[in-house]
Subunit: 103 residues, 2 copies
């Protein structure tokens, strides 16, 4: 299984609409990817390790696929539509990582 | 539910023993935290969005707790023992984020 993580880093002047992301953007990604998208997850940053410290990321979104091929054959076909929705919920340039799920 | 994510950033001269992390470190964290730790996850970085690009993080570990209080009352009591194990698998200074699970 692979995990595609999208990180939205905190910073001055940055904003992120978590409601739009959860209610509109991620369901759109689910619809476009179809059954190839095995599951997804969203988190909103609360803090760093110490209570009250700044969270490195305002939000993170995660998409799980069986393989890189399954990712590229689904998400890969809809990148333009997915990316064009980003300005509707944030002004943060996301950082993306593809990982192998170990546990 | 909250998620405690531990990020191990890639970089020159950095190393990370994913076998030790999965087979020794994370089971130790599970044992120390007990039932307060609802689940955990580990990923190993493969790439960025583009095939062949560098992964921002060599590895990530995630711990799920019902609440901040549950985290502090379990993990919080064992921080010293957990942190003292880090040099056994990596020379990377981890970055930690506590997040609210939204999806």
């Amino acid at each position: 299984m692979i995990k595609v993580s999208v990180f939205y880093a905190s910073g001055d002047g940055k904003h992120f609409d978590i409601g739009y992301y959860c209610d509109k953007h991620m369901p759109m990604v689910q619809r476009l990817c179809g059954a190839a998208l095995k599951s997804m997850a969203v988190e909103q940053g609360l803090s760093g390790m110490a209570a009250g410290s700044a969270a490195p990321f305002m939000a993170m979104g995660h998409l799980y696929f069986e393989s890189l091929n399954a990712f590229q054959a689904s998400f890969g076909l809809h990148v333009k539509e997915i990316v064009s929705d980003v300005p509707n919920y944030t002004n943060i340039q996301p950082v993306i990582q593809i990982s192998q799920v170990k546990i």
